[in-house]
């Protein structure tokens, strides 16, 4: 018997799905090759015996000792720990403060709300060198120069980029939700903590990852304010300026790979968080 219309339709839908899946995989694979190229080259370079065979054939030398030699050449551990000391409190406190502010900008109607928001956005546009020297004067008065405090304290007060993104995200949550909770007698803070925060999880996760990466890779500010307590990028940068000619690229790459590990770990962890939190909050059926 000829198959029914429905079966035929299902069959062609299945085929269509297969074709588009193959298409998807191809693109993703091609893209991955392009994206992973620098990492492969970095690993290749990190395993070279010295900087002179850098442009030689790929993966010809597998000199793993470089990863140990790096620790002898520059204070990697110190940089690592300093970077952590800066990143962890900054992100934990700063995210909370930012989320609170984003909620306020998005959902609480107070006077001058939009004006203040746009002004804060304007602040994002100020390039660092402009405020660099005056900030130095401030930190010098406080005796914070050379410590990590100039890097941490300002971040505790929030991250404008994050506020911006979270506000966008929140603007799509219907106001009625908040209204009904208020009618039931909840305070804004309760609404924020119990309802909004879970809803924000994917956005929070994404922004926290980005912020972590920004802090982890920041070179300019730590070098300027806290060179005496160097963070990891400053430590690695020391390799470049210590050897202006014939830079030991192999060591630089080894150090950079070590530096990348926490970032990728954070990323991998938060990735799951984005998916899991969605399942729990019942947003996807």
């Amino acid at each position: 018997m000829t198959s029914t219309f429905k079966e035929k339709r299902l069959g062609s839908i299945k085929k269509g799905k297969l074709a588009s899946n193959i298409f998807a995989y191809t693109i993703l694979l091609l893209g991955s090759v392009v994206m992973i190229a620098p990492l492969l080259w970095m690993i290749n370079a990190a395993l070279k015996f010295n900087q002179f065979s850098l442009y030689g054939p790929l993966f010809h030398e597998l000199y793993f000792y470089n990863f140990i030699e790096v620790f002898d050449t520059i204070p990697v551990w110190q940089g690592f720990i300093n970077s952590l000391i800066v990143a962890i409190p900054s992100i934990l406190v700063g995210t909370f403060v930012s989320a609170l502010a984003a909620y306020s900008f998005a959902k609480i109607k107070f006077k001058f709300r939009t004006v203040i928001f746009v002004l804060m956005l304007a602040v994002m546009m100020i390039p660092f060198p402009v405020v660099m020297i005056p900030q130095y004067y401030i930190f010098s008065e406080l005796d914070w120069i050379g410590t990590l405090l100039p890097l941490i304290i300002p971040k505790l007060f929030g991250n404008i980029m994050m506020i911006f993104f979270l506000r966008q995200f929140l603007s799509h949550i219907p106001d009625t939700l908040i209204e009904s909770a208020k009618i039931d007698g909840a305070t804004h803070f309760q609404i924020f903590w119990i309802i909004i925060m879970p809803l924000l999880k994917p956005a929070l996760a994404a922004q926290m990852v980005l912020w972590f990466i920004g802090i982890w890779n920041d070179y300019l500010a730590p070098n300027f304010f806290s060179a005496a307590s160097p963070t990891l990028p400053v430590v690695i940068g020391g390799l470049v300026s210590d050897f202006p000619i014939q830079e030991p690229v192999h060591l630089n790459m080894a150090a950079s790979i070590i530096s990348m590990v926490p970032v990728l770990v954070v990323f991998a962890i938060f990735q799951k968080q984005i998916i899991n939190s969605l399942v729990l909050s019942g947003m996807k059926e």
Binding site: F52, Y55, T73, L84, I85, V86, I88, P89, L92, V93, M132, I133, Y136, Y137, S140, E141, D143, I145, G146, T147, L148, L149, I152, N223, F224, A227, A228, S229, G237, G238, V240, S241, D242, F243, P244, I245, Q246
Partner: protein, 480 residues
């Protein structure tokens, strides 16, 4: 609740640690930079200083990156270091803004008390650190604003291996047996030989140098050798100065890059690098820089700075057996050859609480025996600063290279001029020249020439440079 405690800890602990870092060594604070091996040497010299004088030193030794910005910001605050680096270009500004001390009284006192005598420094170098704040003239005046840390020069070097090969293969004679040497056996004297007419190490003319490069540009046993491969920003000054040109006029008011002499030297240099087939092409340079080729023994003539000696020594003599030689002179009529001089000094902050101690430290770092041993004798990082050690230096065969006298020759015998970046109040006028220099180069090897000839470029860029110089001069007059 456990989670909250954890988060609380994660916040509190790092912040406590962060606040507690660093601080509280007493004594003279010195803030300088150096490469890793240099920094450990500085540490040892400082230790010895404390041992000998009992003066405590708080040393902050960092790497080069970001030093300038941090220093600038700190000079206006209580974080200003007692001793720090300054070059001849910046002392003018520092002096006018009163952030550094006139060291003359302290230096005189030291000399009188039998300490290190600053007059023993190599002749003429202290003058680089004079600045007349009234007449806004560099190199003039009674005040001395910094103690020189070192002075170095950048003459040419030759690779004996390649030149011998060239002689062996007959190329040397083929290309150099012309002009003044047309009748001489074997062609022109080799770079390390003396000129029979002057009985001193030979100084090639532009043309003779080109011939030498042609003689050393060949392929032998599948290795390609190049006559020369010089880096524009450091090397072209030699050609320009030898041709009689200069970057600024005598009074420092005008940019003189479009004078005939400047253009002559400039054109000669660019021609040599791009059009005579004796050097790497720009394309090749993009793949392997000149420096790398020299280190692999493929370039016959390349600049050698004092700071390069350690690196060059580390290469096997089979590949790179190098020596020093003067840069070329213009022609037979002119005996003048020049290369640039670089120098750095120690300045003392006007906020210093212990200026005479600071001066003692700076003098020690610069001119003591300890410093000579560590910086010049054991490691050839810099030239001897003390006139009294010059003879020792020249005779000491453990200090390389053998004919190191050429370094000193440049400084002592008038063959050196300060690098253009030190010629004015700031160096933006010079940077303008360098930024668009690529207009003179060929883009791909197939091109006939660059976008502009050197003469066209000089005419094009001079107004832009002059504009920057005028701003610098205005600032200087305003004492900013």
């Amino acid at each position: 609740m456990k989670k909250n405690k954890l988060i609380g800890l994660l916040i509190a602990v790092p912040m406590l640690i962060a606040g507690c870092t660093s601080q509280a060594s007493d004594g003279v604070k010195i803030f300088i930079y150096g490469q890793a091996h240099e920094r450990s040497i500085y540490s040892r010299i400082i230790e010895k200083f404390t041992e000998e004088t009992g003066i405590n030193v708080n040393a902050e030794l960092v790497n080069t990156d970001g030093y300038a910005e941090t220093l600038t910001a700190s000079l206006g605050t209580k974080n200003a270091p007692d001793v720090f680096y300054s070059n001849p270009a910046s002392i003018g500004r520092y002096a006018m803004n009163q952030v550094i001390l006139d060291l003359k009284p302290y230096l005189e006192a030291e000399a009188d008390e039998g300490g290190i005598d600053y007059n023993d420094f190599l002749d003429g170098v202290i003058d680089y650190y004079r600045y007349d704040t009234v007449n806004k003239q560099r190199g003039e005046g009674d005040a001395i604003w910094a103690i020189p840390k070192d002075v170095s020069s950048y003459p040419l070097g030759y690779n004996r291996v390649i030149i011998n090969l060239s002689v062996e293969l007959g190329h040397w004679e083929t290309y150099t047996k012309t002009g003044a040497w047309a009748t001489r056996e074997g062609g022109m004297p080799l770079p390390w030989e003396n000129d029979p007419r002057t009985d001193k190490q030979i100084v090639y003319t532009f043309e003779e140098f080109t011939n030498a490069c042609r003689a050393t540009k060949f392929t032998h046993e599948s290795t390609e050798y190049f006559g020369t491969a010089l880096i524009d920003t450091w090397a072209m000054h030699s050609w320009i100065w030898a041709a009689g040109g200069n970057w600024l006029s005598e009074d420092g008011q005008d940019v003189t890059v479009n004078t005939p002499q400047f253009i002559a030297g400039f054109t000669e240099f660019i021609d040599l690098m791009d059009n005579r087939g004796v050097s790497q092409t720009r394309e090749q340079m993009g793949i392997k820089p000149h420096y790398d080729r020299w280190m692999e023994g493929q370039v016959a003539f390349f600049n050698v700075g004092v700071w390069d000696v350690a690196a060059f020594e580390s290469v096997s003599k089979d590949i790179l057996d190098y020596g020093l030689m003067p840069t070329p002179r213009a022609n037979d009529a002119s005996p003048d050859w020049y290369t640039y001089i670089g120098t750095l000094g120690y300045a003392v902050s006007s906020r210093s609480q212990a200026p005479s101690d600071a001066v003692k430290l700076a003098l020690y770092m610069s001119m003591s025996m300890e410093s000579y041993n560590r910086m010049t004798r054991y490691q050839t990082i810099q030239l001897p600063n003390n006139k009294t050690m010059v003879d020792d230096y020249l005779e000491d065969e453990t200090i390389k290279p053998e004919n190191k006298g050429v370094f000193l020759d440049v400084v002592q015998n008038g063959h050196g001029k300060l690098h253009p970046t030190a010629m004015a109040y700031n160096s933006l006028w010079y940077d303008t020249f360098i930024a668009e220099l690529s207009r003179v180069w060929k883009v791909t090897d197939a091109d006939v020439s660059g976008e502009m000839t050197p003469a066209e470029y000089a005419a094009y860029i001079q107004p832009k440079m002059q504009q920057q110089l005028d701003i610098a001069l205005a600032d200087e007059q305003a004492g900013v």
